[in-house]
């Protein structure tokens, strides 16, 4: 007990911080989920029972959709992680031209709503597809279904894995690898016995992130899923289409259970290991691979991937100037006229709310990561689980949960900007936490202990020791939060109001109406906003001193 009191005396802020963070998570994650759990047992007329679950299981479609979703998620997560790892490795270890370009390209798919990639896939590979029909002369190319979904989801989600892995690979200390090579190990041997094991937590994190993203994704299954039903789509159809909130909530609970099981397995497997490579001793620069088959192979792979991604993205701006894709290919500015006459408010609202949400999500993510990795306190496991929970909940359900939870006093937030900001933060924070945790696990606590022993307070240690060391993870988290907020769709479809409308909701409406030109114009504007934001953030990083001060 006295030890605890001592700790409290030394770090008076810590308990307050923990309580505040916990409170946030309780109000914005647990409470809405509780409301959903409650709804899953209550019918529209107020009777309590298992009808929701019964309907789900008697429908027969659920189990099918669940298996479908798991197959899809495993395929997508595996592919995405492999691609992301190759990209990240090339980035950190190989001297290749066009590095900046590759980086930009790897991030590109994050910065547009996923169903746009689905649209491009249709235009490139569908029955009237540029590639399938015009290049290959196929009559009956069918893009709808599992293969189309895997393609589109992989393109959409591998950047998330890339952002997680690239910070991690760059922070692996070269000295270990040099030691291995100096002892006579080949490059391959070094990679297999040093680099790869060191990146296991990152790989696991990346896989988990993409897996859950794929499970919860509903934009793509709706656009390109064809008759391949997935759980997230079924939830949406139940909750919104059949107006059966009870069945939707029951389905969501099933999905949530699956995700939590995955998370626990993952944690059990990864969480046991500790990887310290930042020891505080000065390290030299990494010697890059400058030639040889490895370099050429990796370079070719990145090049092919990049060309594929560019092909998918070139369609969006091009499509925004084309009157009617594949039917009438004359150039026009009509789509932009439409956007600027009707979509101005949505653009302004989205920007404002995303700018507010980004720093909150970034810092909160880092603080939680710090608490999880570095601090021991009561309820830590709960904090960890709850903070990762939000990513597991399909956005549509979070949206309904928020409306159920924040509709009456004292938390009457429906229709305000706060509720959208909260959804943005909750939806984008987990990625920040993950990358923060991955970065922090590599830093030897003795550095912080040294600072503490020299008399620095907890907050001082955090700001002057921890933050600089996890800066790159922090900024990739910021970028990711901003991007996710700007492109969030499923969660906010229920939270938009006449007061605050968002670009993605407008795009979805246009996609549904089949106005691909207008949707593309919106997306082009969205992508431009992202690019400007990324450049600004990069400048900010440079301005804050990109180089580590060596002691």
């Amino acid at each position: 007990m006295s030890a605890m009191f001592k700790r409290f005396k030394r770090e008076p802020l810590l308990p307050i911080l923990i309580v505040l963070v916990m409170l946030c998570l309780l109000v914005f994650i647990v409470y809405p989920l509780f409301q959903i759990a409650k709804s899953s047992f209550v019918g529209s007329t107020g009777e309590v029972g298992l009808q929701g679950y019964q309907r789900v299981l008697s429908g027969g479609g659920l189990f099918h959709a669940l298996v479908n979703s798991l197959v899809l998620a495993i395929l997508t997560a595996t592919l995405s992680t492999v691609i992301a790892y190759v990209f990240a490795y090339t980035f950190a270890y190989v001297k290749v031209p066009f590095k900046k370009l590759f980086n930009g390209i790897a991030i590109l798919p994050v910065i547009s709503p996923p169903f746009v990639i689905a649209l491009s896939a249709m235009l490139l590979l569908g029955k009237q597809g540029l590639i399938t029909k015009n290049l290959l002369g196929l009559e009956n190319a069918n893009i709808y279904g599992l293969h189309g979904l895997v393609l589109v989801q992989t393109l959409s989600f591998f950047p998330i894995a890339f952002l997680t892995l690239s910070g991690l690979l760059r922070s692996i200390s070269p000295s270990l690898e040099e030691a291995s090579q100096n002892l006579g190990a080949s490059r391959l041997k070094t990679f297999l016995s040093v680099t790869l094991p060191l990146s296991v937590p990152g790989i696991a994190n990346a896989f988990l992130l993409v897996f859950v993203q794929s499970l919860a994704d509903f934009g793509n299954p709706m656009t390109i899923g064809g008759n391949y039903s997935t759980v997230a789509r079924e939830i949406y159809l139940q909750a919104v289409g059949s107006y059966n909130l009870q069945a939707g909530a029951a389905l969501a609970m099933v999905l949530l259970t699956v995700t939590i099981i995955v998370y626990i397995l993952q944690n059990f497997w990864v969480g046991k290991k500790s990887y310290v490579t930042v020891t505080g001793k000065p390290t030299g620069q990494r010697r890059m691979i400058e030639s040889g088959a490895v370099k050429h192979g990796l370079f070719t792979f990145c090049m092919i991937m990049s060309i594929a991604v560019i092909a998918f993205y070139a369609l969006v701006p091009i499509g925004s100037f084309i009157k009617l894709w594949g039917i009438n290919n004359s150039l026009t500015l009509d789509h932009y006229k439409y956007v600027f006459s009707i979509g101005q408010k949505a653009i302004k609202d989205t920007l404002t709310l995303a700018i507010v949400a980004t720093p909150i999500a970034g810092l909160l993510g880092m603080i939680i990561a710090f608490l999880i990795v570095r601090k021991r306190f009561f309820g830590k496991k709960a904090l960890e689980v709850i903070s990762m929970l939000s990513i597991a909940v399909p956005g549509t359900v979070i949206g309904i949960g928020y409306i159920l939870a924040f509709n009456k006093a004292p938390l009457a937030l429906t229709g305000t900007g706060i509720i959208i900001v909260a959804a943005f933060v909750i939806r984008s924070m987990p990625v920040g936490i993950r990358s923060g945790v991955a970065a922090l696990q590599q830093i030897d606590p003795s550095i912080e202990e040294a600072a503490t022993n020299l008399g620095a307070s907890g907050s001082k240690v955090f700001t002057s020791v921890v933050l600089p060391l996890i800066k790159s993870a922090f900024f990739s988290g910021l970028v990711n939060s901003f991007v996710k907020s700007m492109t969030a769709m499923s969660a906010i479809i229920f939270l938009i109001s006449a007061k605050y409308n968002l670009i993605t909701a407008s795009i979805l409406a246009q996609v549904e109406a089949g106005r691909i030109g207008v949707a593309s114009a919106y997306c082009t504007i969205l992508i431009l906003i992202m690019i400007v934001a990324l450049i600004l953030l990069n400048l900010l990083v440079k301005w804050m001193g990109g180089k580590e001060q060596s002691a």
Partner: protein, 357 residues
């Protein structure tokens, strides 16, 4: 050194600010930036501002709200969602309604909302001009437009297969259309539910209707989420034939999908009644009623045709779009909106279990 100090204090400040804005709202005293105060609880002035949930196309919605403000001087803001989304939102917000008027979208959803007591009855003086089958006797909702179902076929596809465009529901069972038909999923789309209910009526009984739907199932390439999407897919040549509303097909034709051919089933077709209603416990009842009056008037109903919405209008004094498919020219079934709304859940569930396995 000074820089470092400055940096760390900035960071600390930001952290404090984050935790405050992140959690401050939990105390109920919302202090979020970029938000003009929590005015939810403020008592409404009589010259308040209306909020409208709109269920039809966005360009039509924007034009209508603009015209309403021009005509009446009342400020209104709107948001466009699909019928299902609006119902879910209104249901979820029933304790603290965020909107005053529900404008457009199929009446079947209004019937369901009426059963759940989500609407505030209002019988507009203009409503007496409107045909009884297009309105709720208690004034929970009133029809503003009507549009028939049709088939959209791709001319190139028909030419290649040497087919004529389908003229009856039976025609869709032709083996040549195997895997070439698209329609929306009745669970998510009002359009598709209208089609399903129509088929049950045309075939003469629920049993025969479901027999037909089971035979149709292998012909379907995919069930889309949104009701108008089949029109785009057929126009793009992704599929041969789509089942959707005639007014949506005409809109696509106007937008340049020249390959679309519209046919109306001769053995009987159903139609959608687009409705308007006032949301229960609105804080702006008077303004909401003014909005309903306006939406039922010729001025309100004729906005649609200026932005390419080709439905028929319910007000006999209003002049509908020339291109619209008139209900008097085609063979319509007796579409009972009330029954359709009441049976909706059961029929969709039955369809999901028996047909879409």
């Amino acid at each position: 050194m000074a820089m470092k100090k400055w940096m760390s204090s900035i960071t600390a400040l930001t952290m404090a600010a984050v935790l405050f804005t992140g959690c401050g709202s939990t105390g109920g005293n919302s202090a979020a930036p970029a938000n003009n105060g929590g005015q939810d609880a403020a008592p409404e002035k009589p010259q308040g501002k209306l909020t409208v949930y709109v269920g039809f196309q966005e360009d039509h919605a924007v034009a209508a709200i603009k015209k309403f403000t021009e005509d009446t001087g009342i400020q209104a803001s709107m948001i466009r969602m699909s019928g299902g989304e609006i119902l879910a939102k209104v249901r979820a917000e029933q304790g603290n309604p965020q909107a005053d008027v529900w404008y457009g979208g199929p009446a079947d959803t209004f019937v369901q909302a009426t059963a759940e007591e989500l609407l505030q009855p209002y019988t507009s003086p203009i409503a007496e001009k409107i045909d009884a089958k297009y309105k709720d006797p208690d004034g929970n909702w009133t029809g503003i437009y009507v549009g028939a179902l049709g088939f959209a076929s791709n001319k190139e596809f028909l030419a290649k297969k040497g087919l004529e465009a389908p003229k009856t529901w039976e025609d869709l069972l032709n083996p040549a259309y195997k895997g070439e038909i698209v329609m929306a999923d009745p669970a998510s789309s009002g359009t598709a539910y209208t089609a399903m209910y129509t088929v049950l009526k045309v075939m003469g009984s629920e049993e025969k209707g479901f027999e037909y739907l089971s035979k149709l199932h292998p012909q379907i390439q995919q069930y889309t989420t949104s009701g108008s999407a089949p029109g785009r897919m057929v126009g793009m040549g992704e599929a041969g034939v789509g089942v959707l509303f005639a007014h949506d097909v005409i809109k696509y034709q106007e937008e340049g999908f020249d390959s679309l051919e519209l046919t109306i089933p001769e053995d009987g077709t159903g139609y959608e009644t687009g409705a308007i209603g006032i949301i229960k416990n609105t804080k702006n009842e008077e303004l909401a009623q003014k909005f309903v009056d306006w939406a039922l008037s010729p001025a309100g109903q004729e906005v649609g045709k200026t932005v390419g919405s080709y439905q028929n209008l319910t007000n006999p004094d209003a002049v509908g779009p020339e291109k619209a498919v008139k209900l008097s020219d085609i063979n319509t079934i007796d579409y009972d909106v009330v029954e359709a709304g009441k049976e909706r859940q059961r029929l969709i569930d039955k369809w999901s279990v028996e047909v879409k396995k």
